[in-house]
């Protein structure tokens, strides 16, 4: 039954890709059909995945397509079911949000059709990846996802930015795909078979295992956006249509995480502790650098993209802990780490897509990417502001919202590091926890900046002054996600109980302790060790608020509220330019962590076009400057060398074949 539903989801996605082709260029029809079917696909995915997750069972199906001797195997188990739910959730919301959002493209120079088609194919590819049970089908879905993602990023191709971003994205994900293919190849070489059952049966030596693991880490890491493989992410997400950025950042990265979990925990079999340590360290680096780079951005969507890097880092910290515990045969703790990582995947999908939807709404209303031009938007678009605020709180890992729960679980897992024999690990893991703490605090700082600068204060530009509330569809979409953020923050016990089916399948143990205290108390390791009563927290805050509010309410006290001008220290009236800007807000942190960024900062001389001169500040990315540009230079140089073989003189050409002949003769005789 669940597999049938998942299968239906695939069909709906396919239909949503193909049916609009019949509509010619009647935009309304295209929108209706495409997004309706997309939503249905999402719902079917949620239903199928959810059932599989709840029942904790796995289902198989073999389709008569693919290679003659390797038919494509489909497989649905709690792990893939969980991620199908994530995909489904965001897809549904995107389907609600999309029709209103794409309205601005209808007047645009390009047709609407490619957008809807490739959105559907994008979803189709992701679902296929989740369902695949053999390398061929997996790669099929994976590359379908990549290529349609490319088409979506390049959709507004009149802008140079879009084109270059899309190219970088496609190139990197293609390289990633090759690495993944290679990783599967290694497993298949030992397990002689390309379906996952054979691969899982493969017995690898430590050396080959490490090779396969490294390939998988790199391959999936490129897609997931681990530092330093993240450079495509801040380029691609800002330029894609916002609901696409939401899906890419919220879901596609998760699919990469799924691939990594599937490969490492399911197929690779026995894990080595050093692999876990590497994952942990990379996770820490991604989390910290991600948030630090995010702090320096002033393009809203670019900033959110860097936060995706951060959150993926947090997820990988959880995975790393889980792998370390698993390799030290502490399956219970490994389950805890895995659950934390999975929970954070779900949460990040929710709040990151919520934030991107919010950014989309702002973009549509004020046509502003730049935080420096926003301000005071809360007056024009209060609902969006409210949802965005919830997103900010969740992503900053503040109670009682969902982001906090998963980070709390990660902390709990990290604190069990003392259970390990090895002192090195025992001392490194707490440091990782400290890094996680620093990350959370910086994230909070960053989102105070974002919300404060974008929504509060005075408008910094005419457009943001004139911004009105977005269309109902878009608001509903954001509302759903905001609600889910709260729900998954308030009822973590139930969620953890469900998710723990996955470690039950992968590691053989669930988290029986976690739900022991009833739905009210989340006690991952034991009631004595740590407990978190999320509903109580909400209740407590509300009670305290109520109490204070009732005590101080004007009806009982004869105090009045007057509205007056802001205190201007006796100078002239305040204007928008006197406010703190995003750059100014982040300045102290920039000074403290200076070496982290390549900063070019100078006072520009007074010229005709900008009277009074100006301050030029550009914060780059070391990874881009130190790795990718270098690779590019080397590549072009070697191409120049290789070109010498095509010099143009026919006698030289003939000499080549002459020498080749002589050489071969000399070799064989």
């Amino acid at each position: 039954m669940p597999l049938t539903l998942a299968w239906i989801a695939l069909l709906f996605a396919l239909a949503s890709a193909l049916l609009p082709l019949l509509c010619g260029n009647r935009n309304r029809a295209i929108k209706t059909i495409a997004f309706l079917l997309l939503g249905l696909a999402g719902l079917a995915g949620i239903a199928g995945g959810g059932l599989a997750l709840l029942q904790g069972a796995s289902y198989n199906l073999t389709l008569p397509v693919g290679l003659p001797w390797l038919h494509s195997h489909l497989h649905l188990d709690p792990l893939s079911g969980f991620f199908m739910v994530i995909v489904g959730l965001v897809t549904v919301v995107a389907a609600v949000y999309g029709p209103a959002y794409v309205r601005e493209y209808e007047q645009g120079p390009q047709f609407l059709l490619p957008l809807t088609i490739f959105t559907a194919l994008f979803v189709l590819g992701m679902d296929l990846v989740l369902l695949a049970a053999d390398a061929f089908t997996f790669m099929l879905g994976w590359e379908l996802m990549s290529i349609s993602g490319y088409m979506l990023v390049v959709y507004q191709h009149q802008h140079e930015r879009n084109r270059s971003a899309a190219f970088i994205y496609l190139l990197m994900s293609h390289v990633g795909a090759l690495l993944i293919l290679l990783a599967y190849g290694v497993l298949a070489g030992f397990g002689d078979g390309f379906d996952f059952t054979h691969m899982a049966a493969a017995q690898l030596s430590l050396g080959w295992g490490s090779v396969a693991f490294a390939l998988a880490l790199l391959g999936f890491g490129i897609k997931a956006g681990l530092v330093p493989l993240h450079v495509w992410l801040p380029e691609a997400h800002p330029v894609a249509p916002s609901h696409i950025s939401a899906m890419m950042s919220g879901v596609m990265l998760k699919v990469a995480v799924y691939g990594f979990i599937r490969f490492t925990f399911d197929l690779l079999g026995e894990v080595h502790w050093s692999w876990g340590l590497i994952v942990l360290l990379i996770g820490c680096a991604s989390a910290l650098l991600g948030v630090l780079y995010a702090l320096m951005q002033h393009d809203l969507k670019r900033l959110l993209a860097y936060h995706s890097v951060e959150n993926i880092g947090i997820i990988y910290i959880g995975l790393g802990l889980s792998m370390i515990f698993a390799s030290n045969d502490l399956p219970g703790l490994a389950a805890l780490g895995l659950v934390a990582a999975l929970y954070h995947s779900l949460n990040h999908a929710l709040f990151k897509s919520l934030l991107f939807f919010g950014a989309g709404a702002i973009l549509q209303q004020s046509h502003e990417h730049d935080l420096g031009k926003m301000g005071g938007l809360i007056r024009g678009m209060p609902v969006t502001a409210g949802c965005f605020l919830i997103g900010c709180i969740s992503i900053s890992a503040l109670p009682p919202f969902n982001g906090f729960v998963s980070e709390w679980l990660t902390f709990q897992a990290a604190l069990q590091g003392t259970a390990l024999k090895s002192g090195i690990l025992g001392s490194l893991i707490p440091v990782a926890a400290a890094v996680l703490a620093l990350t959370g605090a910086l994230a909070a700082a960053c989102f105070v900046k974002v919300f404060g600068v974008a929504f509060l204060g005075q408008a910094r530009s005419k457009q943001s002054l004139a911004a009105k509330e977005a269309a109902p569809g878009m608001l509903i979409g954001q509302g759903i996600l905001a609600l889910l953020c709260l729900v998954f923050g308030i009822f973590p016990t139930w969620t953890v109980g469900v998710i723990s089916n996955i470690p039950l399948m992968l590691l053989g143990v669930g988290l029986p302790e976690a739900t022991a205290g009833g739905w009210l108390w989340l006690t991952p390791v034991g009631a004595q060790t740590a407990s978190y009563g999320a509903p109580m927290v909400l209740l407590g805050i509300c009670l305290a608020w109520l109490f204070v509010y009732l005590r101080l309410h004007p009806r009982r006290r004869k105090t009045s509220v007057q509205v007056g001008a802001t205190w201007d220290c006796g100078f002239g009236p305040l204007n928008a330019r006197m406010q703190y800007t995003a750059t100014a807000f982040a300045m102290p942190i920039r000074r403290i962590f200076q070496p982290v960024w390549p900063i070019e900062e100078r006072i520009e001389p007074e010229t005709a076009e900008n009277p009074g001169g100006g301050r030029h500040l550009k914060v780059g990315d070391w990874a881009w400057q130190k790795i990718y540009l270098v690779i590019g230079r080397v590549l072009l140089a070697s191409a120049k060398r290789a070109a010498l073989i095509q010099g143009g003189n026919i006698r030289v050409y003939l000499a080549y074949s002459f020498v080749t002949l002589l050489f071969l003769l000399w070799v064989i005789v």
Binding site: P399, F404, V448, F455, S531, G564, L574, M578
Partner: protein
């Protein structure tokens, strides 16, 4: 049931005792500086006066501005209610462990900073920016410190931490010394005392906390101030009960509770004196020196953790 009642009472005690601690510190400070200071009860007078005053709100202010004081106060109060103050083993302490506690402070700070940016003045933005910068350095230090304890007693639950320390035969934990010192430094930074911030001044170059609440008046201001005092109180109790746990009531008998009350009052009084001495003897430091200050705190906490892992794990 009476556990819950006790918990509520304890929370009330904490909340209403907070202004006295603030007043006490100020009073001791004045005495140390040979000044005729206000009585320790002065903060109560200020608060009640503010509660009665009218409110002026900037026309730039958004709902966030009006919401913030209530939220900040109620979250801080909730944080106070989960603290083991006079007794442990109360049901409320299961609501939140020490990480959640830090989370509460972060939530309060989040809205405080937003409120600071709301009306769009230069002061507010500056205050928020500085506050978030400092806190983002302070938070990991706090967590490191409490992690050191948590790993020693293998629990992040405050109540079980303290009880563990009391029940186990006494032993000297070198890690605790580092962690305690670190936590002291962080407390100074977090509660906006000299040398990081100066609660007594409105000089725009130095102020942080005051800058954020500059636009507030009347009961809003009162709530903000009260929340700040409460925060100081909570940190005091945290340090006192974690590092000098003796005296706190293990079981809920009147006698034990009385002893606990006396004990905690004594500890807080001593802490207040220590704080006053520190504030008198130190000078407010430049904002960009603060990171070094917090860096020291962080190093101390890290040392604490490492010494725990290296020396104490058997």
């Amino acid at each position: 049931m009476n556990g819950w009642a006790l918990a509520v009472i304890q929370a009330g005690l904490l909340a209403f005792g907070a202004p006295f601690l603030a007043g006490w510190v100020k009073w001791v400070k004045c005495k140390l500086q040979c000044r005729q200071g206000p009585s320790p009860w002065q903060p109560y007078r200020n608060l009640s006066k503010l509660f009665r005053k009218d409110i002026v709100i900037s026309e730039q202010a958004s709902p966030v501005f009006r919401m913030a004081p209530y939220l900040v106060f109620s979250v801080t109060a909730l944080a106070g209610s989960v603290m083991p103050f006079v007794a442990i083993g109360l049901p409320t302490s299961a609501i939140a462990d020490v990480i959640v506690l830090v989370g509460f402070f972060a939530l309060a700070r989040f809205f405080l900073a937003l409120a600071g940016m709301d009306v769009g003045t230069a002061f507010g933005g500056m205050g928020s920016s500085r506050e978030m910068t400092i806190s983002s350095l302070a938070e990991p230090a706090i967590l490191m410190a409490v992690f050191t304890l948590a790993m020693t007693v293998s629990s992040t639950n405050l109540a079980s931490m303290i009880s563990h320390l009391l029940v186990e035969p006494f032993q000297l934990y070198p890690s605790f010394i580092f962690a305690g010192m670190g936590l002291l430094l962080v407390t100074v930074a977090e509660t906006g005392r000299i040398p990081v911030d100066n609660p007594a001044t409105h000089l725009e170059l130095t102020m942080i906390h005051e800058a954020m609440i500059l636009e507030y008046s009347g009961r809003h201001l009162a709530l903000m101030e009260w929340a700040a005092m409460l925060k100081l109180m909570i940190y005091g109790v945290l340090i006192a009960n974690l590092f000098i746990p003796w005296g706190i009531a293990l079981e809920l008998t009147p006698l034990a509770l009385a002893i606990g009350l006396v004990a905690i009052t004594g500890k807080l009084a001593v802490l207040g004196v220590v704080l006053a001495v520190a504030e008198t003897s130190l000078a407010k430091m430049r904002f960009f020196r603060v990171p070094q200050f917090l860096g020291l705190a962080f190093i101390l906490c890290l040392l604490g953790m490492l010494s725990h892992v290296i020396l104490e794990v058997r």
